[in-house]
Symmetry: C2
Subunit: 256 residues, 2 copies
Protein backbone atom coordinates (compact mmCIF):
# COMPACT_ATOMS: atom_id res chain seq x y z
CA UNK A 1 0.00 0.00 0.00
CA UNK A 2 3.02 2.24 0.45
CA UNK A 3 4.52 2.55 -3.00
CA UNK A 4 1.44 4.21 -4.46
CA UNK A 5 0.72 7.86 -3.87
CA UNK A 6 -2.63 8.29 -2.18
CA UNK A 7 -4.73 11.38 -2.89
CA UNK A 8 -5.99 12.81 0.40
CA UNK A 9 -9.25 14.74 0.53
CA UNK A 10 -10.23 16.99 3.42
CA UNK A 11 -13.93 16.23 3.60
CA UNK A 12 -16.62 17.84 5.68
CA UNK A 13 -16.21 21.31 4.12
CA UNK A 14 -18.98 20.59 3.31
CA UNK A 15 -19.64 16.86 3.42
CA UNK A 16 -21.19 16.76 -0.06
CA UNK A 17 -18.31 18.74 -1.55
CA UNK A 18 -16.00 15.96 -0.33
CA UNK A 19 -18.02 13.39 -2.27
CA UNK A 20 -18.27 15.65 -5.30
CA UNK A 21 -14.47 16.03 -5.45
CA UNK A 22 -13.97 12.28 -5.03
CA UNK A 23 -16.43 11.54 -7.83
CA UNK A 24 -14.76 14.06 -10.13
CA UNK A 25 -11.36 12.46 -9.48
CA UNK A 26 -12.78 9.09 -10.53
CA UNK A 27 -14.51 10.60 -13.58
CA UNK A 28 -11.36 12.38 -14.76
CA UNK A 29 -9.23 9.23 -14.39
CA UNK A 30 -8.50 6.86 -17.28
CA UNK A 31 -9.84 3.58 -15.87
CA UNK A 32 -11.80 0.66 -17.24
CA UNK A 33 -11.70 -1.55 -14.14
CA UNK A 34 -11.94 -0.91 -10.41
CA UNK A 35 -8.23 -1.68 -10.05
CA UNK A 36 -7.18 1.07 -12.46
CA UNK A 37 -8.55 3.88 -10.30
CA UNK A 38 -6.27 6.02 -8.16
CA UNK A 39 -6.06 5.40 -4.42
CA UNK A 40 -7.86 8.03 -2.41
CA UNK A 41 -8.57 8.70 1.25
CA UNK A 42 -11.47 10.96 2.22
CA UNK A 43 -11.73 12.06 5.82
CA UNK A 44 -14.93 13.93 6.65
CA UNK A 45 -15.03 15.17 10.25
CA UNK A 46 -17.35 18.16 9.88
CA UNK A 47 -18.20 18.62 13.54
CA UNK A 48 -14.56 19.54 14.24
CA UNK A 49 -14.33 22.30 11.62
CA UNK A 50 -15.77 25.73 12.36
CA UNK A 51 -17.68 27.37 9.55
CA UNK A 52 -15.10 29.18 7.41
CA UNK A 53 -17.30 32.20 6.69
CA UNK A 54 -18.28 32.67 10.36
CA UNK A 55 -14.58 32.91 11.16
CA UNK A 56 -13.82 35.37 8.36
CA UNK A 57 -16.75 37.56 9.42
CA UNK A 58 -15.47 37.58 13.00
CA UNK A 59 -18.45 35.64 14.35
CA UNK A 60 -16.17 33.00 15.85
CA UNK A 61 -12.56 33.39 16.93
CA UNK A 62 -11.70 29.76 16.22
CA UNK A 63 -9.72 29.50 13.03
CA UNK A 64 -10.88 26.37 11.14
CA UNK A 65 -7.28 26.07 9.89
CA UNK A 66 -6.29 24.04 12.97
CA UNK A 67 -8.97 21.38 12.53
CA UNK A 68 -8.20 21.15 8.81
CA UNK A 69 -4.52 20.79 9.69
CA UNK A 70 -5.27 17.86 12.00
CA UNK A 71 -7.20 16.16 9.23
CA UNK A 72 -4.36 16.68 6.76
CA UNK A 73 -1.97 15.13 9.27
CA UNK A 74 -4.28 12.13 9.63
CA UNK A 75 -4.43 11.80 5.85
CA UNK A 76 -0.65 11.86 5.73
CA UNK A 77 -0.50 9.09 8.33
CA UNK A 78 -2.77 7.06 6.06
CA UNK A 79 -0.34 7.44 3.19
CA UNK A 80 -1.54 10.56 1.40
CA UNK A 81 1.15 12.47 -0.47
CA UNK A 82 -1.07 15.07 -2.14
CA UNK A 83 -4.06 16.74 -0.51
CA UNK A 84 -6.96 18.87 -1.71
CA UNK A 85 -9.50 20.87 0.28
CA UNK A 86 -12.81 21.20 -1.61
CA UNK A 87 -13.76 24.51 0.01
CA UNK A 88 -13.00 27.83 -1.66
CA UNK A 89 -13.38 29.80 1.56
CA UNK A 90 -10.66 27.71 3.21
CA UNK A 91 -8.26 29.08 0.58
CA UNK A 92 -8.39 32.64 1.87
CA UNK A 93 -4.96 33.58 3.28
CA UNK A 94 -6.40 33.98 6.80
CA UNK A 95 -7.09 30.24 6.81
CA UNK A 96 -4.90 28.64 4.14
CA UNK A 97 -1.65 30.36 5.13
CA UNK A 98 -2.06 29.16 8.72
CA UNK A 99 -2.42 25.59 7.46
CA UNK A 100 0.66 25.85 5.23
CA UNK A 101 2.75 27.49 7.95
CA UNK A 102 1.90 24.75 10.45
CA UNK A 103 2.51 21.96 7.93
CA UNK A 104 5.99 23.44 7.41
CA UNK A 105 6.60 23.63 11.15
CA UNK A 106 5.58 19.97 11.46
CA UNK A 107 8.02 19.07 8.64
CA UNK A 108 5.18 17.57 6.63
CA UNK A 109 6.01 16.43 3.11
CA UNK A 110 2.39 16.79 1.94
CA UNK A 111 1.84 18.64 -1.31
CA UNK A 112 -1.24 20.77 -0.60
CA UNK A 113 -2.86 21.87 -3.87
CA UNK A 114 -4.26 25.44 -3.83
CA UNK A 115 -7.64 25.30 -5.52
CA UNK A 116 -7.88 29.00 -6.41
CA UNK A 117 -4.36 29.16 -7.85
CA UNK A 118 -5.34 26.17 -9.95
CA UNK A 119 -8.46 27.98 -11.19
CA UNK A 120 -6.29 30.92 -12.30
CA UNK A 121 -3.86 28.58 -14.04
CA UNK A 122 -6.72 26.69 -15.68
CA UNK A 123 -8.33 29.81 -17.13
CA UNK A 124 -5.00 31.05 -18.42
CA UNK A 125 -4.16 27.74 -20.08
CA UNK A 126 -7.57 26.85 -21.47
CA UNK A 127 -9.28 30.18 -22.04
CA UNK A 128 -6.40 32.66 -22.52
CA UNK A 129 -8.66 35.17 -24.31
CA UNK A 130 -10.88 35.73 -21.26
CA UNK A 131 -10.44 38.99 -19.36
CA UNK A 132 -13.65 39.48 -17.37
CA UNK A 133 -14.42 36.75 -14.86
CA UNK A 134 -17.46 36.73 -12.57
CA UNK A 135 -17.30 34.92 -9.25
CA UNK A 136 -20.13 33.60 -7.08
CA UNK A 137 -19.12 32.56 -3.57
CA UNK A 138 -19.89 32.59 0.13
CA UNK A 139 -19.73 35.96 1.88
CA UNK A 140 -16.47 34.82 3.51
CA UNK A 141 -14.72 34.37 0.17
CA UNK A 142 -16.40 37.54 -1.12
CA UNK A 143 -15.16 39.80 1.68
CA UNK A 144 -11.56 38.59 1.61
CA UNK A 145 -11.35 39.26 -2.13
CA UNK A 146 -9.25 36.15 -2.63
CA UNK A 147 -10.51 35.65 -6.20
CA UNK A 148 -9.96 39.28 -7.32
CA UNK A 149 -6.45 39.15 -5.87
CA UNK A 150 -5.34 35.83 -7.36
CA UNK A 151 -7.01 36.21 -10.76
CA UNK A 152 -5.94 39.86 -10.81
CA UNK A 153 -2.30 38.76 -10.62
CA UNK A 154 -2.87 36.93 -13.89
CA UNK A 155 -4.29 40.03 -15.54
CA UNK A 156 -7.96 39.14 -15.17
CA UNK A 157 -10.67 41.52 -14.07
CA UNK A 158 -12.98 39.97 -11.47
CA UNK A 159 -16.66 40.95 -11.30
CA UNK A 160 -18.51 40.30 -8.04
CA UNK A 161 -22.19 40.68 -7.04
CA UNK A 162 -23.17 43.86 -5.20
CA UNK A 163 -23.76 43.54 -1.45
CA UNK A 164 -27.52 42.97 -1.73
CA UNK A 165 -27.11 40.20 -4.28
CA UNK A 166 -24.26 38.71 -2.25
CA UNK A 167 -26.65 38.20 0.67
CA UNK A 168 -29.01 36.37 -1.67
CA UNK A 169 -26.20 34.07 -2.88
CA UNK A 170 -25.15 33.40 0.68
CA UNK A 171 -28.64 32.29 1.74
CA UNK A 172 -28.82 29.95 -1.27
CA UNK A 173 -25.90 28.12 0.36
CA UNK A 174 -26.60 28.53 4.07
CA UNK A 175 -30.33 28.85 4.66
CA UNK A 176 -31.23 26.11 7.19
CA UNK A 177 -34.43 25.23 5.30
CA UNK A 178 -33.75 25.61 1.59
CA UNK A 179 -29.97 26.20 1.43
CA UNK A 180 -27.72 23.71 -0.35
CA UNK A 181 -25.95 22.77 2.88
CA UNK A 182 -29.32 21.68 4.31
CA UNK A 183 -30.82 20.14 1.15
CA UNK A 184 -28.71 19.01 -1.76
CA UNK A 185 -30.40 15.99 -3.32
CA UNK A 186 -32.16 17.51 -5.03
CA UNK A 187 -31.15 21.14 -4.51
CA UNK A 188 -34.26 23.21 -3.81
CA UNK A 189 -35.77 25.34 -6.58
CA UNK A 190 -35.46 28.47 -4.44
CA UNK A 191 -31.71 27.97 -3.90
CA UNK A 192 -31.20 27.34 -7.59
CA UNK A 193 -33.24 30.43 -8.55
CA UNK A 194 -31.10 32.63 -6.33
CA UNK A 195 -27.92 31.34 -7.94
CA UNK A 196 -29.34 31.90 -11.43
CA UNK A 197 -30.13 35.47 -10.36
CA UNK A 198 -26.44 35.85 -9.50
CA UNK A 199 -25.34 34.40 -12.82
CA UNK A 200 -27.69 36.72 -14.75
CA UNK A 201 -26.28 39.74 -12.91
CA UNK A 202 -22.66 38.81 -13.61
CA UNK A 203 -23.49 38.21 -17.28
CA UNK A 204 -25.06 41.68 -17.53
CA UNK A 205 -21.94 43.15 -15.93
CA UNK A 206 -19.85 41.65 -18.73
CA UNK A 207 -18.53 38.36 -17.34
CA UNK A 208 -17.20 36.13 -20.15
CA UNK A 209 -16.72 33.31 -17.65
CA UNK A 210 -18.21 32.69 -14.22
CA UNK A 211 -16.42 30.80 -11.48
CA UNK A 212 -18.74 28.88 -9.15
CA UNK A 213 -16.49 29.81 -6.25
CA UNK A 214 -18.13 27.72 -3.55
CA UNK A 215 -18.18 23.94 -3.73
CA UNK A 216 -21.86 23.88 -2.78
CA UNK A 217 -22.74 25.99 -5.83
CA UNK A 218 -21.14 23.43 -8.14
CA UNK A 219 -23.54 20.83 -6.77
CA UNK A 220 -26.49 22.99 -7.86
CA UNK A 221 -25.23 24.32 -11.20
CA UNK A 222 -23.75 21.66 -13.45
CA UNK A 223 -23.78 23.40 -16.85
CA UNK A 224 -20.49 24.01 -18.72
CA UNK A 225 -21.96 27.04 -20.40
CA UNK A 226 -24.95 29.31 -19.79
CA UNK A 227 -25.76 31.41 -22.84
CA UNK A 228 -22.33 32.47 -24.11
CA UNK A 229 -20.77 32.43 -20.66
CA UNK A 230 -18.30 29.69 -19.76
CA UNK A 231 -19.08 28.20 -16.35
CA UNK A 232 -16.01 27.21 -14.36
CA UNK A 233 -16.14 24.53 -11.68
CA UNK A 234 -13.24 24.77 -9.22
CA UNK A 235 -13.98 21.29 -7.84
CA UNK A 236 -13.41 19.79 -11.29
CA UNK A 237 -10.20 21.80 -11.66
CA UNK A 238 -9.02 20.66 -8.23
CA UNK A 239 -9.81 17.03 -9.15
CA UNK A 240 -7.73 17.32 -12.32
CA UNK A 241 -4.85 19.01 -10.47
CA UNK A 242 -4.78 16.23 -7.85
CA UNK A 243 -4.62 13.55 -10.57
CA UNK A 244 -1.87 15.50 -12.35
CA UNK A 245 0.16 15.60 -9.13
CA UNK A 246 0.00 11.86 -8.45
CA UNK A 247 -0.11 10.33 -11.93
CA UNK A 248 -0.27 12.50 -15.03
CA UNK A 249 -0.71 9.44 -17.28
CA UNK A 250 -4.06 8.72 -15.69
CA UNK A 251 -5.51 12.17 -16.41
CA UNK A 252 -8.20 12.19 -19.11
CA UNK A 253 -7.87 14.88 -21.78
CA UNK A 254 -9.76 18.05 -20.83
CA UNK A 255 -13.14 18.03 -22.51
CA UNK A 256 -14.20 21.59 -23.34
Amino acid sequence: MNNKKIVGIVGGVGPYAGIDLTRKIFEQTEAKRDQEHLPIALLSIPQEIEDRTLFLLGQTSINPAYAILKIIEKLEEMGASVVGIPCNTAHTPQIFDVIVENLKKADSSIKLVHMINEVARFIQENHPQIRNVGVLSTTGTYKTKVYPIILGQKGMNVILPNDVLQDIIHTAIYDPIYGIKAQSNPVTQIAKRKLIEGINYLQKEGAEAIVLGCTEITIAITDNKIGKTIIIDPTLILARALIREVNLNKLKPYDK
Copy 2:
Protein backbone atom coordinates in the same frame (compact mmCIF):
# COMPACT_ATOMS: atom_id res chain seq x y z
CA MET B 1 -11.41 13.81 17.24
CA ASN B 2 -11.43 10.74 19.44
CA ASN B 3 -14.68 10.93 21.36
CA LYS B 4 -16.83 10.63 18.23
CA LYS B 5 -17.38 7.33 16.52
CA ILE B 6 -16.16 7.47 12.95
CA VAL B 7 -17.91 5.41 10.28
CA GLY B 8 -15.30 3.62 8.18
CA ILE B 9 -16.01 2.76 4.55
CA VAL B 10 -14.00 0.23 2.57
CA GLY B 11 -13.90 1.97 -0.78
CA GLY B 12 -12.61 0.72 -4.09
CA VAL B 13 -15.08 -2.20 -4.33
CA GLY B 14 -15.84 -0.51 -6.67
CA PRO B 15 -14.75 3.09 -6.36
CA TYR B 16 -18.16 4.52 -7.25
CA ALA B 17 -19.91 2.24 -4.77
CA GLY B 18 -17.75 3.82 -2.05
CA ILE B 19 -19.01 7.27 -3.00
CA ASP B 20 -22.59 6.03 -3.32
CA LEU B 21 -22.53 4.62 0.22
CA THR B 22 -20.98 7.82 1.59
CA ARG B 23 -23.63 9.94 -0.10
CA LYS B 24 -26.42 7.72 1.21
CA ILE B 25 -25.05 8.03 4.76
CA PHE B 26 -25.20 11.82 4.43
CA GLU B 27 -28.69 11.72 2.89
CA GLN B 28 -30.08 9.46 5.63
CA THR B 29 -28.63 11.64 8.42
CA GLU B 30 -30.62 14.35 10.19
CA ALA B 31 -28.43 17.41 9.52
CA LYS B 32 -29.06 21.03 8.63
CA ARG B 33 -25.45 22.24 8.78
CA ASP B 34 -22.09 20.76 7.78
CA GLN B 35 -21.22 20.31 11.45
CA GLU B 36 -24.24 18.10 12.14
CA HIS B 37 -23.11 15.34 9.76
CA LEU B 38 -21.50 12.16 11.04
CA PRO B 39 -17.74 11.71 10.80
CA ILE B 40 -16.74 9.29 8.08
CA ALA B 41 -13.50 7.93 6.64
CA LEU B 42 -13.48 6.45 3.15
CA LEU B 43 -10.39 4.58 2.03
CA SER B 44 -10.41 3.60 -1.64
CA ILE B 45 -7.36 1.55 -2.64
CA PRO B 46 -8.78 -0.43 -5.56
CA GLN B 47 -5.49 -1.56 -7.09
CA GLU B 48 -4.78 -3.64 -3.97
CA ILE B 49 -8.06 -5.58 -4.02
CA GLU B 50 -8.48 -8.51 -6.41
CA ASP B 51 -11.80 -8.73 -8.19
CA ARG B 52 -14.15 -10.60 -5.84
CA THR B 53 -15.90 -12.56 -8.59
CA LEU B 54 -12.63 -13.67 -10.25
CA PHE B 55 -11.62 -15.16 -6.90
CA LEU B 56 -14.95 -16.92 -6.37
CA LEU B 57 -14.81 -18.38 -9.88
CA GLY B 58 -11.29 -19.67 -9.24
CA GLN B 59 -9.69 -17.36 -11.80
CA THR B 60 -7.31 -15.97 -9.19
CA SER B 61 -6.09 -17.66 -6.04
CA ILE B 62 -5.63 -14.39 -4.18
CA ASN B 63 -8.44 -13.91 -1.71
CA PRO B 64 -9.42 -10.21 -1.70
CA ALA B 65 -10.21 -10.65 2.01
CA TYR B 66 -6.61 -9.86 2.98
CA ALA B 67 -6.47 -6.52 1.17
CA ILE B 68 -9.90 -5.59 2.58
CA LEU B 69 -8.64 -6.55 6.03
CA LYS B 70 -5.63 -4.22 5.69
CA ILE B 71 -7.96 -1.37 4.74
CA ILE B 72 -10.24 -2.06 7.72
CA GLU B 73 -7.18 -1.98 9.98
CA LYS B 74 -6.15 1.38 8.49
CA LEU B 75 -9.68 2.70 9.04
CA GLU B 76 -9.50 1.56 12.65
CA GLU B 77 -6.19 3.41 13.09
CA MET B 78 -7.97 6.53 11.81
CA GLY B 79 -10.60 6.20 14.48
CA ALA B 80 -13.32 4.13 12.83
CA SER B 81 -15.43 2.07 15.21
CA VAL B 82 -17.96 0.75 12.70
CA VAL B 83 -17.14 -0.32 9.16
CA GLY B 84 -19.16 -1.14 6.04
CA ILE B 85 -18.05 -2.76 2.78
CA PRO B 86 -20.24 -1.62 -0.15
CA CYS B 87 -19.74 -4.80 -2.17
CA ASN B 88 -22.24 -7.66 -2.02
CA THR B 89 -19.77 -10.18 -3.42
CA ALA B 90 -17.35 -9.47 -0.56
CA HIS B 91 -20.06 -10.76 1.81
CA THR B 92 -19.87 -14.34 0.55
CA PRO B 93 -18.52 -16.57 3.37
CA GLN B 94 -15.39 -17.42 1.32
CA ILE B 95 -14.34 -13.77 1.62
CA PHE B 96 -16.25 -12.25 4.55
CA ASP B 97 -15.54 -15.03 7.04
CA VAL B 98 -11.80 -14.73 6.38
CA ILE B 99 -11.99 -11.01 7.16
CA VAL B 100 -13.94 -11.57 10.38
CA GLU B 101 -11.65 -14.37 11.52
CA ASN B 102 -8.54 -12.25 11.00
CA LEU B 103 -10.06 -9.22 12.71
CA LYS B 104 -10.71 -11.46 15.72
CA LYS B 105 -7.14 -12.76 15.66
CA ALA B 106 -5.87 -9.18 15.60
CA ASP B 107 -8.08 -8.34 18.59
CA SER B 108 -9.81 -5.62 16.59
CA SER B 109 -12.76 -3.91 18.22
CA ILE B 110 -14.29 -2.89 14.89
CA LYS B 111 -17.97 -3.60 14.42
CA LEU B 112 -18.18 -4.85 10.84
CA VAL B 113 -21.74 -4.56 9.53
CA HIS B 114 -22.86 -7.44 7.27
CA MET B 115 -24.73 -5.90 4.36
CA ILE B 116 -26.66 -9.01 3.33
CA ASN B 117 -27.78 -9.83 6.87
CA GLU B 118 -29.00 -6.23 7.04
CA VAL B 119 -30.98 -6.68 3.82
CA ALA B 120 -32.71 -9.75 5.30
CA ARG B 121 -33.47 -7.84 8.50
CA PHE B 122 -34.74 -4.85 6.52
CA ILE B 123 -37.17 -6.88 4.42
CA GLN B 124 -38.48 -8.68 7.48
CA GLU B 125 -39.01 -5.44 9.41
CA ASN B 126 -40.39 -3.28 6.62
CA HIS B 127 -42.04 -5.71 4.22
CA PRO B 128 -42.97 -8.72 6.41
CA GLN B 129 -45.60 -9.91 3.92
CA ILE B 130 -43.05 -10.57 1.16
CA ARG B 131 -42.14 -14.20 0.44
CA ASN B 132 -40.65 -14.21 -3.09
CA VAL B 133 -37.53 -12.10 -3.52
CA GLY B 134 -35.61 -11.79 -6.78
CA VAL B 135 -31.89 -10.99 -6.70
CA LEU B 136 -29.68 -9.50 -9.42
CA SER B 137 -25.95 -9.73 -8.76
CA THR B 138 -22.47 -10.48 -10.09
CA THR B 139 -21.79 -14.08 -11.09
CA GLY B 140 -19.62 -14.40 -7.97
CA THR B 141 -22.52 -13.64 -5.64
CA TYR B 142 -24.82 -15.75 -7.84
CA LYS B 143 -22.70 -18.91 -7.70
CA THR B 144 -22.10 -18.81 -3.94
CA LYS B 145 -25.86 -18.56 -3.30
CA VAL B 146 -25.27 -16.17 -0.42
CA TYR B 147 -28.62 -14.42 -0.92
CA PRO B 148 -30.70 -17.65 -1.16
CA ILE B 149 -28.99 -18.93 2.01
CA ILE B 150 -29.33 -15.81 4.15
CA LEU B 151 -32.84 -14.80 3.01
CA GLY B 152 -33.85 -18.46 3.10
CA GLN B 153 -33.04 -18.57 6.82
CA LYS B 154 -35.69 -15.87 7.28
CA GLY B 155 -38.28 -17.91 5.40
CA MET B 156 -38.00 -16.10 2.08
CA ASN B 157 -37.86 -17.81 -1.30
CA VAL B 158 -35.12 -16.36 -3.53
CA ILE B 159 -35.55 -16.22 -7.31
CA LEU B 160 -32.40 -15.91 -9.43
CA PRO B 161 -31.86 -15.45 -13.19
CA ASN B 162 -31.12 -18.56 -15.26
CA ASP B 163 -27.49 -19.04 -16.34
CA VAL B 164 -27.91 -17.35 -19.74
CA LEU B 165 -29.50 -14.27 -18.21
CA GLN B 166 -26.90 -14.24 -15.45
CA ASP B 167 -24.15 -13.83 -18.07
CA ILE B 168 -26.06 -10.85 -19.46
CA ILE B 169 -26.31 -9.25 -16.01
CA HIS B 170 -22.62 -9.84 -15.41
CA THR B 171 -21.59 -8.06 -18.62
CA ALA B 172 -23.80 -5.08 -17.70
CA ILE B 173 -21.46 -4.67 -14.72
CA TYR B 174 -18.09 -5.80 -16.07
CA ASP B 175 -17.95 -5.15 -19.82
CA PRO B 176 -14.81 -3.01 -20.38
CA ILE B 177 -16.63 -0.79 -22.89
CA TYR B 178 -20.23 -0.37 -21.74
CA GLY B 179 -20.23 -1.99 -18.27
CA ILE B 180 -21.01 0.11 -15.20
CA LYS B 181 -17.51 -0.37 -13.79
CA ALA B 182 -16.10 1.25 -16.96
CA GLN B 183 -18.79 3.92 -17.47
CA SER B 184 -21.06 5.08 -14.71
CA ASN B 185 -21.83 8.74 -15.29
CA PRO B 186 -24.05 8.31 -17.07
CA VAL B 187 -24.54 4.54 -17.11
CA THR B 188 -24.73 3.35 -20.74
CA GLN B 189 -28.12 2.55 -22.25
CA ILE B 190 -26.97 -0.97 -23.12
CA ALA B 191 -25.97 -1.74 -19.51
CA LYS B 192 -29.27 -0.38 -18.27
CA ARG B 193 -31.25 -2.37 -20.84
CA LYS B 194 -29.60 -5.61 -19.74
CA LEU B 195 -30.49 -4.93 -16.12
CA ILE B 196 -34.09 -4.15 -17.03
CA GLU B 197 -34.20 -7.47 -18.89
CA GLY B 198 -33.18 -9.14 -15.61
CA ILE B 199 -35.83 -7.26 -13.65
CA ASN B 200 -38.53 -8.22 -16.16
CA TYR B 201 -37.53 -11.88 -15.91
CA LEU B 202 -37.63 -11.91 -12.11
CA GLN B 203 -41.03 -10.17 -12.15
CA LYS B 204 -42.39 -12.85 -14.48
CA GLU B 205 -41.04 -15.51 -12.16
CA GLY B 206 -43.09 -14.04 -9.34
CA ALA B 207 -40.70 -11.75 -7.45
CA GLU B 208 -42.62 -9.37 -5.15
CA ALA B 209 -39.38 -7.54 -4.37
CA ILE B 210 -36.05 -7.42 -6.20
CA VAL B 211 -32.74 -6.89 -4.45
CA LEU B 212 -30.16 -5.04 -6.54
CA GLY B 213 -27.47 -7.30 -5.12
CA CYS B 214 -24.43 -5.57 -6.57
CA THR B 215 -23.50 -2.03 -5.62
CA GLU B 216 -22.88 -1.15 -9.27
CA ILE B 217 -26.48 -2.05 -10.15
CA THR B 218 -27.80 0.43 -7.58
CA ILE B 219 -25.94 3.18 -9.43
CA ALA B 220 -27.86 2.32 -12.62
CA ILE B 221 -31.33 1.58 -11.22
CA THR B 222 -32.58 4.17 -8.77
CA ASP B 223 -36.33 3.46 -8.69
CA ASN B 224 -37.99 2.42 -5.42
CA LYS B 225 -40.62 0.48 -7.30
CA ILE B 226 -40.94 -0.91 -10.83
CA GLY B 227 -44.54 -1.83 -11.63
CA LYS B 228 -45.77 -3.48 -8.44
CA THR B 229 -42.32 -4.79 -7.52
CA ILE B 230 -40.46 -3.21 -4.61
CA ILE B 231 -36.84 -2.47 -5.54
CA ILE B 232 -34.40 -2.96 -2.67
CA ASP B 233 -31.07 -1.13 -2.54
CA PRO B 234 -28.55 -2.84 -0.23
CA THR B 235 -26.28 0.24 -0.27
CA LEU B 236 -29.10 2.34 1.21
CA ILE B 237 -29.77 -0.35 3.81
CA LEU B 238 -26.06 -0.53 4.68
CA ALA B 239 -25.95 3.28 5.00
CA ARG B 240 -28.87 3.22 7.43
CA ALA B 241 -27.37 0.35 9.43
CA LEU B 242 -24.07 2.23 9.80
CA ILE B 243 -25.85 5.35 11.07
CA ARG B 244 -27.89 3.20 13.48
CA GLU B 245 -24.68 1.70 14.86
CA VAL B 246 -22.95 5.02 15.57
CA ASN B 247 -25.82 7.35 16.40
CA LEU B 248 -29.43 6.17 16.21
CA ASN B 249 -30.72 9.70 16.95
CA LYS B 250 -29.28 10.94 13.68
CA LEU B 251 -31.09 8.36 11.53
CA LYS B 252 -33.89 9.82 9.41
CA PRO B 253 -37.21 7.93 9.46
CA TYR B 254 -37.37 5.34 6.69
CA ASP B 255 -39.27 6.76 3.75
CA LYS B 256 -41.17 3.99 1.95
